[in-house]
């Protein structure tokens, strides 16, 4: 029957396919074309602004003033980058501080987040609910800026140390909850079997749970790293020592000051020697964007494949 039916069925199919494939092929082609076009458009809509940012950062300031932003400027100039790298010490040190903070902070933060998340994910842990509540509570209520400032400067004595950039960002309750969500999906039996085999808690955590949680570790790791990378406000509050200024604060300061100076003509006038006309103000802003985002743009693709698995806040995961 099946052997028979196959050709029998395929016979009429062939005639129709001859027709329908051409029809199908053309319709297929159209739909893929449209889908491709849509995606090309989406991609372009993301790439073109980025390209524009790069180009503007390399455009001569006068050309921007006279013609606005252009994909093909009539005059290129490295003035904006020259301004920042005029004294490379400062910016290189800032990169160093940022990289140190991002790496050390991410590692410490991941260890903390994972251990806390793991504890909360263990349903045989007696204080799960109060602990979860405690974590959750901090998401709803914050002390505010001034108590935070007092805590860090007067109780923890972190002012003007690199730890002022690392410690406040080390544990985010939201990430703990994500981590908990992921880890509670790990079958409890694994832990039980490990126990039967004689493993103690630390060993279970380090050798079973952490390797199994790689996707969420990678995802959260990236988030945390972004946070550390983009962090400037704590630095603004707590860092007076120029040697500890991270990249983002350096750039934020430059940009704020530029805005500040140029938005107040009366102020620009007070500063008689500040040569506003020759300063690559607009290009500098775009150069700032490139310099601060650049390294992270390169890091991002390496984490991307973990994203789907790593991000599930509770609920059911497919």
């Amino acid at each position: 029957m099946p052997a028979n039916s196959m050709p029998a069925k395929s016979m009429p199919a062939k005639t129709t396919t001859a027709k329908s494939t051409t029809a199908k092929k053309s319709s297929f082609k159209w739909s893929t074309l449209i889908i491709h076009l849509i995606f090309i458009l989406i991609t372009l809509s993301m790439l073109v602004p980025l390209a524009l940012v790069i180009i503007v950062s390399l455009t001569d300031e006068n050309s921007i003033l006279h013609h606005g932003y252009r994909m093909i400027p009539d005059k290129f100039s490295f003035a904006a980058y020259e301004y920042f790298f005029k004294s490379p010490d400062a910016i290189l040190r800032a990169y160093g501080v940022t990289i140190f903070v991002a790496v050390v902070g991410t590692v410490l933060s991941l260890i903390l987040t994972a251990s806390m998340g793991y504890t909360l994910s263990r349903r045989d842990y007696g204080l799960v609910r109060p602990t979860s509540f405690y974590v959750f509570f901090t998401m709803l209520f914050g002390g505010g800026l001034v108590p935070f400032y007092i805590l860090v400067t007067q109780y923890l004595h972190l002012k003007d140390t690199i730890w002022a950039l690392i410690v406040p960002g080390m544990l985010s309750p939201f990430y703990v909850l994500i981590m908990k969500g992921f880890m509670s999906k790990i079958p409890f039996e694994i832990i039980e079997s490990a126990k039967v085999e004689g493993a103690r808690e630390w060993r279970i955590f380090a050798q079973l749970i952490l390797p199994l949680s790689k996707p969420s570790l990678a995802t959260l790791g990236l988030f945390i790293m972004f946070n550390y990378w983009n962090e400037w406000f704590n630095a603004l509050l707590f860092i007076d020592n120029e040697r500890l200024v991270p990249l983002q604060l350096l750039l934020v300061r430059t940009m704020n000051s530029l805005d500040f100076i140029t938005s107040r003509p009366e102020f620009a006038l007070v500063m008689s020697n500040f040569n506003l006309a020759n300063f690559p103000k607009t290009a500098a802003k775009f150069a700032i964007a490139i310099m601060s985002a650049g390294p992270m743009l390169l890091v991002f693709p390496f984490f991307q494949r973990f994203f789907v698995k790593g991000l599930t806040v509770g609920a059911i995961k497919g």
């Binding site: 006279h66 007696g126 300061r253 003509p265 006038l269 500063m271 008689s272």
Partner: protein
């Protein structure tokens, strides 16, 4: 499933207890921190005053000269700067060398970027951090609001005990601007403190069309010139403006409170004066004739518009003498000339001041330091220009050549103190200091100096009125809207927002002030 249920049940009680425990703990925590806060602030204040009473005799006895008799202290000084300086530490050491010798104190310089100064200082002062000297002004880290918050220490006694020389170095009208509630709270930095509404004109066009500046007496007189530009210079905006070009100073209206200068009845004027109406009408006629750029009302920053050098004329409310050089850089590098439209008016010294913090442990030493900064030429110039031979070279007389890339470049002489002590950078007019003093001396001083309008009773009305002004002000001011049609609507809305209540309150307070000061 069952197991978790059991676990749940088993620990329901624990949960309850722990929640209540947590609540109790947080409550206790709050209580604690509250206590700490309330403890901290009074303790800081008494310690300050205790310090002043304790060492006042000491400083009194030591004040003749010898700094070595004073015990060594370290002071901190927060002030805004344009950018970080690599050699700050070197300069700080040089500063300390001078202060150590003269008042046996060292100072820790804490420059903060202009863009972040406000935020940083708000946090540090709110946290009652120990600071000695804070830079303040009426435009950044505002003097009056922060005085109300209690950030600054009253200085009258300190000025008598350790800053008499400083007090004598400035006229009373400067100190008046640092006075709130009858007490001095800051030390003004002497600089140009006068304003003179002026037209700024590009010299190349003035020369081309042979404009006689002496014929420009009021703003209307510039119209024929604008027409010449419109007709003869394609691509050039004849008149640049963003918010309009009205200033009471041009129409003999006082700068402290809206009263005609020669008005013996001291009547506070309404928001929309006849002069303002005239200004709107003029703006609209210019706008329809194409003298004002079309997007004037929505332009965010006037500087952006002028920077390109494509604006022939614009209005500047300060127009201080000798500022042509400074306008040049803001005008794409084209030379400009000024056409003053009014006599210059003393606008006050509150634009840059140094105050002593309430949290200072050594207020009288901070005062001694401020006196030194304002009277000691060497110290002041070290702060402004850095170290001689490294950051600048002396040329002839008081002139110096600044090396901008040497590692210390402030460009903000007005932040630190009295600019009459400064060396002159190359290119500055030789009589800059004499000019500054002259301008300040000759400027018209408002008889209402000292009157400060307390906006508290009409806070809501002010917010409403400001919202209306936000909506119509720029459009009417730049002439985008026809005043014949929209001015009545605007006035009606202002009225609804409570503009009359504000005026009445202002009048009431002014009358009280006049009576209290024996002026009426």
């Amino acid at each position: 499933m069952k197991k978790t249920n059991n676990v749940k049940f088993k620990f329901r009680t624990t949960l309850l207890t722990s929640i209540s425990l947590a609540a109790a703990l947080t409550a206790a925590g709050c209580g604690n921190s509250n206590n700490n806060n309330t403890d901290a602030s009074p303790s800081a204040a008494p310690s300050g005053s205790a310090g002043s009473t304790a060492s006042a005799p000491a400083s009194g006895s030591a004040s003749p000269s010898a700094g070595s008799e004073l015990e060594p202290v370290e002071l901190t000084w927060y002030y805004p700067q344009n950018a970080a300086n690599a050699d700050l530490k070197l300069v700080n050491d040089a500063v300390n060398k001078i202060t150590k010798e003269k008042i046996n104190a060292t100072i820790k310089l804490m420059p903060i970027d202009f863009g972040t100064y406000e935020q940083k200082m708000n946090t540090t002062t709110a946290a009652s951090e120990k600071i000695d000297i804070i830079w303040t002004s009426n435009w950044l880290f505002k003097f009056d609001t922060n005085q109300k918050k209690g950030v600054f220490l009253p200085l009258d006694d300190l000025l008598k005990s350790s800053g008499q020389k400083l007090y004598d170095s400035m006229q009373k009208k400067f100190w008046d601007d640092a006075t709130l509630d009858g007490k001095i709270y800051a030390v003004p930095n002497f600089q140009v403190s006068a304003s003179r509404p002026s037209l700024v004109l590009q010299k190349r066009f003035v020369d081309k069309y042979n404009l006689d500046l002496s014929t420009i007496k009021k703003i209307d007189d510039i119209e024929p010139f604008l027409k010449q530009i419109k007709d003869g210079e394609p691509g050039i905006t004849p008149f640049g403006t963003t918010k309009g070009f009205y200033s009471g100073l041009m129409y003999n209206i006082d700068n402290r409170v809206e009263v005609y200068r020669d008005d013996t009845t001291h009547t506070v004027l309404p928001d929309v004066t006849d002069e303002l109406k005239h200004s709107y009408e003029l703006a609209h006629s210019w706008y329809t004739k194409g003298y004002i750029m079309e997007d004037a009302a929505t332009l965010k920053s006037a500087a952006d518009a002028y920077n390109k050098g494509t604006t022939a004329v614009w209005f500047d409310v300060t127009g201080k003498p000798g500022s042509e050089v400074e306008f040049k850089v803001a005008d794409g590098g084209y030379d400009v000339v000024l056409a003053p439209l009014a006599q210059s008016t003393f606008t006050g010294a509150a634009s840059t001041m140094n105050a002593i913090s309430r949290t200072s442990k050594n207020p009288e030493r901070a005062m001694m330091f401020l006196e030194l900064v304002n009277t000691d030429k060497e110290l002041y110039n070290t702060l402004v220009y850095g170290i001689e031979g490294k950051h600048y070279e002396k040329t002839t007389g008081d002139f110096i050549k600044i090396n901008q890339d040497a590692g210390y470049f402030t460009n903000t002489d007005w932040i630190f103190g009295n600019i009459t002590n400064e060396y002159l950078p190359e290119g500055a007019p030789a009589d800059k200091i004499e000019q500054t003093i002259k301008v300040n001396d000759e400027a018209y001083v408002s008889p209402y100096t000292g009157f400060v309008f307390n906006s508290e009773p009409v806070k809501t009305e002010i917010a409403n009125v400001n919202a209306v002004k936000e909506e119509y002000g720029a459009s009417l001011g730049t002439g985008t809207l026809d005043p014949a049609k929209y001015l009545p609507i605007y006035e009606e809305k202002l009225k609804k927002a409570g503009v009359e209540t504000i005026r009445a309150e202002k009048q009431k307070q002014l009358n009280e002030w006049l009576a209290a000061n024996g002026k009426k």
